[in-house]
């Protein structure tokens, strides 16, 4: 009763553990996180510090836009000089796993020209009657020198660069070839989720639940008839209450209960003079094998010590071996 109660408690606990484990398994965070930021400039800059940040998590930076996108690495000071007259979006940080922060840098103001009071009195002699252009015109940003770029990647609609591909200390910049604004920047990072406990939780929950289920079944099903039949069968096998007082003396059962008879070997003391030749004969016999001629064929003529030893030893080793009449008579 006490064991069954404990099993039921364990089962209830197992169900709780199993549910928690399954919920945890279902809601388990991804090993890879992608933080996305919307951008609206033709240039996206990933500073060297941000590249190093991504590198620690084996990260990748991807930028989406239209048309051909070019990604370059450059020395930060060179890139700052190149960006001086351009509006650009800097990736600045990752405050949460899902949020990628950006900062838009405006181009440096150009030096003010002389304030010449030269209003044009004449209206334009050729008023433009043209309709709006079909496609929006953008400033080409890559028509200057390429000498400052160290590495280059090209993509169509999207360009993706692993942080490990960017040399340490260099900035990464992504530019749309046609000058059109880019649409989004994505930082993809790997992270180590501490989920090693989830599977053991599920396994142990399942085991405890099974134990509780068995206990519950035993509680609900009357197994006493089966138990009684089992006890009867056991008693029958053990002849309890049948008046059987044990095995009859000399019966096979009695011998079996006594255990196997172990033949006793009684080696006779051998005279010193006969030891060496007898040992030699034994050695020869051993070489010939147990079925060898020296053993099987009695040598009637030579009367050697080996034959005597063999006879003596044979008598001592095998008391049940068949004997000839001569041997019987000799005794």
């Amino acid at each position: 009763m006490r064991l069954r109660t404990m099993a039921l408690v364990a089962g209830a606990l197992g169900i709780v553990v199993l549910i928690v484990g399954l919920v945890a398994q279902a809601q388990r965070p991804e090993d890879t996180v992608e933080a996305v930021a919307q951008v609206d400039t033709a240039v996206v800059v990933v500073p060297a510090d941000m590249v190093a940040f991504a590198l620690e998590s084996d990260g990748r930076v991807a930028v989406d836009g239209s048309g051909t996108l070019e990604a370059f690495t450059a020395r930060p000071s060179d890139l700052d000089a190149w960006l001086d007259d351009k509006e650009s979006t800097y990736l600045t940080g990752l405050p949460t796993w899902e949020e990628l922060t950006t900062d838009v840098a405006e181009p440096a103001p150009e030096p003010s020209p002389t304030a010449s009071p030269s209003p044009s009195a004449d209206p334009s002699p050729e008023p433009s009657a043209s309709a709006e252009p079909e496609g929006e015109e953008f400033e080409q940003l890559l028509d200057t020198s390429d000498d400052l770029w160290r590495d280059n990647w090209t993509g169509h609609g999207r360009v993706s660069v692993g942080a490990a591909q960017v040399p340490v200390g260099l900035d990464l910049v992504v530019v749309s070839a046609d000058g059109s604004p880019l649409t989004s920047a994505e930082l993809r990072l790997d992270r180590d989720i501490n989920d090693a406990w989830v599977m053991p939780l599920i396994v142990w929950g399942a085991i405890l639940s099974a134990v509780g289920l068995v206990a519950l079944l035993l509680l609900l099903i009357d197994v006493r008839p089966l138990q009684a039949r089992g006890e009867e069968w056991l008693a029958h096998r053990q002849r309890i209450g049948t008046g059987d007082s044990g095995a009859k003396p000399g019966s096979r059962r009695a011998r079996r209960m006594e255990g196997a008879a172990v033949p006793a070997v009684d080696l006779p003391d051998e005279p010193d003079a006969a030891v060496a030749p007898g040992a030699d004969a034994d050695a020869e016999a051993a070489k010939d094998g147990p079925e060898g001629e020296a053993m099987d064929e009695p040598d009637a003529g030579d009367g050697s010590d080996a034959d005597e030893d063999e006879a003596a030893a044979g008598e001592a080793v095998d008391p049940y071996a068949p004997r000839t009449e001569d041997e019987e008579g000799g005794r």
Partner: protein, 326 residues
Amino acid sequence: MRRMFTGAALAAAGVLALAACTPEVPEPVTAGEMELQAAVIQSQADFIIEDTFAELDAADAALDAALLTDRVGGQVKATREAEYKLRKANGEIALTDIPSEMQATYAPGGDDWPRVLVMVTAQPEDDLTPVVLMWVQDSVFADYQLRGWAHMVPGATLPAMPGETTGVTALALDSDAVEPPPQTAIENYLELLRGGPEDEFAGDFGEDTYRDRLFAARDALSKQAKEADGSYVDTFNPSFDSTYAIATAEGGALVFAPLTVSSAFTVKDATVSVPDGDKPLASGEFDDKVTHTYADFLVMHIPPTGSEALPTVVAADHRLVKVSAG
């Protein structure tokens, strides 16, 4: 109701347990220092070489200096233009051979412009010395442009230079990092060229074949002019706006100075004649005076302060670009 509450509690327990096991967002980090801090590393230098020689080869093939635009300019363009004129007049005349294979690159460091990129070519031919090439980048938006070259003076050696790990530091022309400062060294050397072998600055500079040839030519032409009751005068004009100095690894400096040399030959009561080979460069009606204009390029090594070595011209070329009557 109780079952729902229990289920929600269990689910919440699972989520909370997971939330506790989600790692924190890594802290911001600071990037390490660049391994190669030079403004131009070898891959960039290779690109610049390839682009430069593509433009040069195209112009050479067409004998058209107008094709020298982004990558070749300055004194080099004027020199090549003169060579194209000579070659058009006489197909036997070869253009100056500039190997595109480099044996050394001196990459600029620092963050300012203009920047100077220097390379030393492989030896062009057995009887010619390697060529020192100088590219200049005026701004981040401009290409490195080849603006000067000069063959090394026989026997001269270039000093050790910082590699692309740090890049080469540019020196101002009045920098006191070396003695004499770069501009002073060039000015004194020009005084020596004007004054001749006996000039007071003769002992301030190491020997070089450039000035030896110049003095030898001057002696010969002066003698010819005297025989015609005329004169021969060399005029040297530096262009310090296009002169650059860079620091060497040992603490000295290399100075790259373009010069314009005008050699006026005057005779009395006679008419000068221009050799046939120079006529493609000639302009004007020649009477008693002819002026040969040369676009020269000097590379001078100024040893570090305290060194017993003297400033020495290690590379120089003397190239005729114009023959005029005035």
